[in-house]
């Protein structure tokens, strides 16, 4: 092979691997992207039951119910709308009523959000950024949240 042909082989191989990578990414983007929604978004956008989303807001005070220890029910609110959530498992360390929360899962036919992941935030002063933005949008942002958010150390993103 001449130098030119060899270079063409190299370039061809490079482009084909790149094409495969792009195809894989496009395919994965179609299937595995999860949108963040506040309870109001869920009501407005009519999120289909079964679609995976992240639901974020505040855990409504007085809504937390533990059935037999492991099945947990609570409501997520942004001040305008509320969505009932069920979760089976152990809650993260700083899950509290009145605190920000992000749950990942899907709505069932009855409008109950079945969460399979509750994002653990390891610092009680920490407000998930999505939740803070959603609260600001719905006009329920309180100044003391901002003060808390301005504190120097934020929580873990797990």
């Amino acid at each position: 092979m001449t130098r030119k042909q060899r270079r063409l082989v190299l370039i061809g191989a490079g482009l084909s691997v790149l094409a495969v990578a792009v195809a894989l990414m496009l395919n994965a983007f179609r299937d595995s992207i999860v949108f963040f929604n506040s309870p109001s978004d869920v009501a407005e956008k009519h999120v289909e039951p079964g679609t995976r989303i992240r639901l974020g807001g505040l855990v409504k005070t007085g809504s937390l119910l533990r059935d037999n220890g492991l099945l947990i029910r609570f409501e997520v609110t942004d001040g305008k709308s509320e969505i009932p959530v069920t979760y089976q498992g152990v809650l993260p360390d700083l899950f509290r009523e009145g605190q920000g929360v992000v749950a990942e899962g899907a709505l069932d036919g009855a409008g109950v959000f079945n969460a399979d992941t509750i994002l653990a935030k390891h610092d009680e002063t920490y407000m998930p950024k999505e939740v803070a933005d959603a609260l600001k949008k719905s006009g329920h942002w309180k100044d003391d949240y901002a003060q808390r958010a301005a504190m120097p150390v934020t929580g873990v993103n797990k």
């Binding site: 691997v17 990578a21 595995s32 933005d133 929580g155």
Partner: protein, 661 residues
Amino acid sequence: MIPELGHYALMLALGLALIQGIMPIVGARTNDPVLMNIATSTALAQFVFVAIAFGALTECYVFSDFSVLNVYENSNSAMPLIYRLTSVWGNHEGSMMLWVSILAFFGALVAFFGTNLPATLKADALAVQAWIAAAFYLFILATSNPFVRIPDAPFEGQDLNPILQDPGLAFHPPMLYLGYVGFSIAFSFAIAALLEGRIDAAWARWVRPWVLGAWMCLTIGIAGGSYWAYYELGWGGFWFWDPVENASLMPWLAGTALLHSAVVMEKRGALKVWTILLAILTFSLSLIGTFLVRSGVLTSVHAFATDPTRGIFILAILVAFIGGALALYAWRAPALKQGGLFAPISREGALVFNNLFLTSACATVFVGTLYPLALEALTGDKISVGPPFFNSTFGPLFIPLMLVMPFGPLLGWKRGDLLGAAQRLLTAAMLAAVAIAAAFALEHGGPVLAPFGVGIAVFVMAGAVTDIAERTMILRIPFGAALRRAIGLPRSAWGTAFAHFGIGVTLLGIVGATAWGGERIAAIKPGDTLDLAHYRLTFDGQFNRTGPNYRDVVGHFTVRRMSGELIGAMEPSRRTFPARNMATTEAALMTRGLSQIYLSLGDANPDGTVSVRLYFKPNVLMIWLGAVIMFFGGGLSLSDRRLRVGAPRPAKVRAALQAAE
């Protein structure tokens, strides 16, 4: 007094960096040896001053000087000494100090050991290194000064974020930074080569040890972070595809590609232009990692900075360095001379294959990590790109890489014999087939693809062994002769085999822990038992325990085999830190061979039960063991005679050192 001294030393370091960034370049252009030599002395002096600044900050932490704001916010006199030390870098300002300290350290190493470098190359490279350093000194002094005082010194500090109070943090951030910042050397040399418009195989020989060292540190740093997340966060996961983790994985992938392309350049003089680009990209990804982690665009345990000016400052550094480097590359790279020829089936071809897949895999991680940020900035839509995305893009790109990996070292340079390599790998392939069959027969319930994962891992490991077996001709010639051949093999050959073997070990651990692990989540009360895999755990009760700056609620569990034989006890706890009013979950781990039982304690429920999470993680330790093997392989390769001979120290320096002892 001490903090002011540190502050002053840092400003002097900035001044030195500015001199080092200008004079040597002028010297290299005008061929003035005096100006060029300034680089060596300023690089050494710069390191001295940064070390003084870092030492001053450390002193404030160790002796709990709460009149320094940074110490007050992140330390507490009740913390044990090790955490007072680690909290130096457990915050934004301190971690940037660590960053520049390591940068200056590497600059000093180049200045000290680079005595055989061509004068202009050394001057240019050190000047580029100084630009990076100057940018970060400015960043620290302007936006993140760790030496700011509080007028009325409080009596007690606010404590370090409890989840960072962990021995792992003594070692994970410095290793990671050694890796990130180590790639700056490759970057500086690449820019210097572009400035000179000349590059040869010797360039690769100078740069490769630095890349190798940085790669080793990054490997072990990532593995350490992963192990920390595994036991500290209480979820039993070892990798979350979290943006912060991806930020360290991207330079690792690009750095691994760079390591391999530099081999081709060193041995065959080919892939020069590509290697330069990879050197630029690898350090750029390190900078992007720093930006992602430190700017506050991502909220995570690592995002200490919440001040937007810092983010903008780092972004400006990022744009200047990456943009500038790529522009210089576009302008000067076409002038670099073409290298040697090779057939597609050859060692070079295999290494190109490696580079293509590693960089593509890196690109998918890059897109997956940055797409949500870009989308939010453009449309306001908030999305999360989680593990499914990475599993279905990164995974398929890594499989061919693993399959081809054993072939690489068996192919000859220039033109390889694919059929011959395949024949020599026949044993490895058969072993892999046996492993797949055994996995299907022995394990039930896991994903269908998991046994093939085991097969690939075994193929990679057996392939690494085959490489050594072929080189030593063991089993074909008398054992003594083979042993002599083994001793005579270049250490880099052993290094390659170990590193490749380590990848196989890690893969085996990942497959085992994710596919065949067991999980129980239950609400239990004292006296209850939990069965998982071959073990039975009895919950004996809870008790309280007090630590230096925390309180523990400890659950006591007795672990038995199903047969009733007693194995031991596990004591997971929930730990409360009064200084910050925070709680953490301290999981208990019991190691059984390479597998682990993982137990973490959840909330107490109103009905008197306690929620617990119990996992069985088969082969999970292999994940990190593999990284240790890779690190060891890198070390062997680094100690190779060729690299030492390639970069000899003049006898004079050695004599001077001895005299000083």
